[in-house]
């Protein structure tokens, strides 16, 4: 009897291992489709963490789900005989606490490593973009003497890009350099969410939040408010445009000239 149980046990382990290996293989090929990999250094680290959590999740799901299905098939009622009335035991109950404890503590430690890793404070010389959320669009402000590389410390004035729900604004930032975002709001809470940053941070009245990222891929990325902010919350979208430094400088110069020309804050429409 004991040998039968053992054989059954090892077969179960074999099936479970095979199932989790299969899941891993499937995951390896599909991971990019499951979550976009992100376009910043920080996003890539967070995406790696996501994949680790996903592997844990799939293994746990395969093992527990497999055991559940196995138990339902193996132990379905066949006759009226009463099964052994087993109440539990100390050894298995220690395992019941120990296994989840090990998994959760491991995941906690790994996620804290990533958290520390992505939390680099901005250098004062980095480009700073002040983002103001309002019902229901965005303002992106560039201080002309705080533009990061090639910044002119004597330049004066601020360049403001202001959007509306129907004319979504474009947020332009240079690639391959750290950019600090300062987030403020004066009406309700909004949330600055760029999918390809794999990151969001709230804009909270009475509080200033900031974060720093280094983008590694140029292109246009869609983004929108992620915190319910009222009637047209879903229209509070913008486009993030990551460009080469030269293109960024040219864009700034062009916008600054325009702004000097008609003296009014600019509204730049998405193409």
């Amino acid at each position: 009897m004991r040998r039968v149980l053992l054989r059954r046990g090892s077969r179960l382990v074999a099936v479970a291992t095979a199932a989790s290996l299969l899941a891993l293989a499937a995951l390896g090929s599909a991971s990019a489709a499951i979550q976009p990999g992100g376009i910043t250094d920080e996003a890539r680290k967070m995406h790696d963490l996501f994949i680790i959590v996903l592997i844990f999740a799939l293994v746990v799901f395969a093992l527990v789900g497999g055991a559940l299905v196995y138990a339902l098939i193996r132990y379905r009622r066949r006759d009226d005989e009463l099964p052994p009335q087993f109440h539990g035991g100390t050894r298995i109950e220690v395992l019941m606490v120990g296994i989840p404890a090990i998994i959760t503590i491991a995941l906690f430690v790994i996620s804290m490593i990533t958290l520390v890793d992505i939390d680099d404070d901005a250098d004062p010389d980095d480009l700073t973009i002040e983002v103001t959320g309002f019902q229901f669009s965005w303002q992106f402000a560039y201080n002309l003497n705080d533009l990061g590389l090639n910044s002119d410390p004597n330049a004066e004035g601020t360049l403001a890009i202001i959007g509306t729900p129907s004319a979504e604004p474009v947020l332009v930032m240079p690639v391959d350099e750290a950019v600090e975002f300062v987030l403020v709001s004066n009406d309700v809470i909004h949330s600055f969410y760029v999918r390809d940053f794999l990151y969001k941070l709230d804009l909270i009245p009475g509080r200033q939040n900031d974060f720093t990222v280094t983008a590694r891929e140029t292109g246009d990325y869609r983004a929108q408010c992620a915190e319910l902010c009222g009637l047209n919350h879903s229209l509070m979208r913008f486009t993030l445009r990551v460009v080469e430094r030269a293109e960024f400088d040219a864009w700034i110069a062009e916008q600054a000239a325009k702004q000097r020309g008609d003296d009014a804050p600019l509204s730049v429409q998405a193409p």
């Binding site: 009622r77 006759d79 099964p83 996620s111 949330s191 941070l201 992620a226 979208r237």
Partner: protein
């Protein structure tokens, strides 16, 4: 004075309606709770169908942005405050006294008050649709300052939730006293049925957490109407304070919404596996641990506010995974080596276990703080809460209804219709909510009324909407089964499932005084012991 004639009441009959309105009988109040909460489950479900219809296609114009914000706010408010939380009070009302062998709750009139606070609160909350500016529209979380901008419907919502909180709090006190003071002879705390244990921890959470919500609501009401500035930075207040106090209640509230469901499932799995619950004490301690840890994780709803001590709340959130994992082992161990019959209550209980497993696993993504930065406030989180509160709690509600229907009404629900109900609901549920994981990972924020076509979210949203309507269709066999059951005579045996706990030791339905006699209680399964001639344990 030799003898006093005691007036006989047996000949007197109140009109049935008055009888239901004036009753202090825990069973009748329990039934009233069930009717009330299932009504709002239907209302919340219809609102959910409106939400899903709106989102089924890109750039939808089915309902406007304004109406959409009201609809999803009231969907969540109905489901959480008027369905899930009070439905457990309904089951608890009916079954806690029966399971511990008591004649009624400790305070029957307070019990009636707990129930009768609900209908005016429900009416008040939904009357918001009739007033200028519409109903509450700031989400069920009512974040300030957005909640300051809403119309008078918001005030009606605040007062309604306040009343529901009062109902919860006094109900909780009643449950605690009942379980501490009125257990049958021989029923020690560790022989109490597991459903009672989960109700006990739930009641503790309600007693400790709900007053915090009441305080928060009072502050919000003052801010809105009397020029207060608790949450207004311009007056020296703090916007994030609302989130702290709101979630200090509302995270424990998530356990208030799921623990009794776990209790029901832990009643059903042993009965249909013909085994005791595996690791009864471990389950009890895990429930207590979840209750205790539940008070230290609230800020994991606020990871993206930038004003939260991330490592602490990340750690506590992972910690709560441990007792949750223990419970999964309890359920697996109960099935293991058992003799499992797939009755309808068992199917729903197994649906709970499997869907709650997913709801537990997809929750760990948000516990990993850097991963949550991407997932927070996206449809991934919507998937998570529905795997927990629908895949978990709602499946447990139906498990409980099918299991205890013969107890409450002395009639069985048809098994074939029950299986049909389960099949449609299980498939519909996964169709509706699994695609939301992918939508969230692809960046779809929650609570948006429209999305553009180039976002690429249309296909998954359409699948989700089809799933939602499949769930709605699954209610048809359930309703037929209920109507059919009531058309048949009350001729079922008192204990059709071979239940083990005291509620099955009396007739079905039970008499007004509950028990003519009680069997001896020597374990957590007194009826099992009785079937084994007293030496079953």
């Amino acid at each position: 004075m030799a003898s006093v004639a005691i007036p006989q009441l047996s000949g007197y009959r109140r009109p049935a309606v008055l009888d239901w309105i004036m009753t202090v009988d825990h069973k009748k109040l329990g039934i009233l709770y069930l009717y009330f909460t299932l009504f709002f489950f239907a209302v919340g479900g219809i609102l959910a169908l409106l939400v899903r219809t709106q989102l089924s296609v890109a750039d939808s114009t089915f309902v406007g942005n304004d109406a959409y914000n009201q609809i999803f706010t009231m969907h969540a408010s109905a489901m959480l405050f008027l369905f899930i939380i009070p439905v457990w009070a309904g089951f608890g009302n009916y079954f806690v006294p029966l399971q511990i062998g008591a004649a009624d709750m400790a305070f029957p009139r307070i019990n009636a008050l707990s129930f009768w606070l609900l209908p005016p609160a429900g009416i008040l909350m939904f009357s918001g649709f009739l007033v200028d500016g519409g109903s509450a529209n700031a989400g069920w979380t009512a974040y300030s300052p957005l909640a300051q901008q809403a119309g008078v419907g918001m005030d009606m919502w605040i007062v309604a939730v306040f009343m529901l909180g009062a109902s919860s709090t006094i109900g909780a006190a009643n449950f605690l006293v009942t379980m501490f003071r009125m257990r049958a002879p021989g029923m020690t705390m560790f022989r109490m049925p597991i459903f009672c244990w989960t109700m006990l921890v739930t009641a503790l959470l309600q007693l400790l957490a709900t007053p915090v919500l009441a305080a928060a609501l009072a502050m919000l009401f003052i801010d809105r109407n009397y020029g207060g500035s608790f949450f207004d930075p311009n007056g020296g207040g703090n916007v994030v304070l609302w989130q702290n106090v709101f979630w200090f209640y509302s995270h424990p509230a998530v356990y208030i919404m799921i623990l009794p469901g776990m209790g029901i499932v832990s009643e059903i799995l042993p009965v249909f596996s013909r085994k005791p619950l595996f690791g009864y004490k471990a389950f009890v301690f895990a429930t207590i641990a979840i209750g205790a840890l539940g008070f230290s994780v609230w800020a994991h709803h606020m990871f993206t506010t930038g004003s939260v001590l991330l490592p602490f709340f990340g750690f506590m959130t992972f910690m709560i995974g441990i007792p949750t994992g223990v419970k999964i082992f309890n359920w697996l161990g109960t099935l293991w080596g058992g003799s499992i019959s797939f009755t309808t209550p068992m199917l729903f209980a197994l649906g709970f276990v499997s869907m709650f497993l997913i709801g537990g696993i997809n929750g760990t993504f948000s516990a990993a703080v850097p991963v949550d930065f991407a997932l927070h406030d996206t449809y991934f989180v919507v998937a998570h809460i529905h795997y927990v509160l629908f895949g978990g709690s709602v499946f447990a509600v139906f498990a409980g209804l099918y299991y205890w229907f013969p107890k409450i009404w002395g009639r069985m629900l048809d098994e074939r219709l029950g299986r049909l109900h389960f099949t449609f609901m299980f498939i519909g549920f996964n169709l509706a909510f699994f695609p939301m994981h992918m939508l969230g990972l692809d960046g779809m924020p929650r609570r948006i009324a429209v999305y553009s076509e180039d976002a690429g979210w249309e296909t998954l949203n359409m699948i989700s909407t089809l799933g939602a309507f499949t769930i709605a269709v699954s209610m048809i066999p359930f309703l037929i089964a209920v109507v059919w059951a009531f058309m048949r005579p009350q001729d079922q045996p008192d204990n059709p499932w071979e239940g083990n706990t005291l509620e099955w030791a009396t007739s079905s339905p039970p008499p007004e005084h509950n028990f003519d006699s009680l069997p001896p209680v020597r374990s957590e399964r007194p009826l099992f012991d009785a079937r084994q001639n007293g030496d079953g344990h």
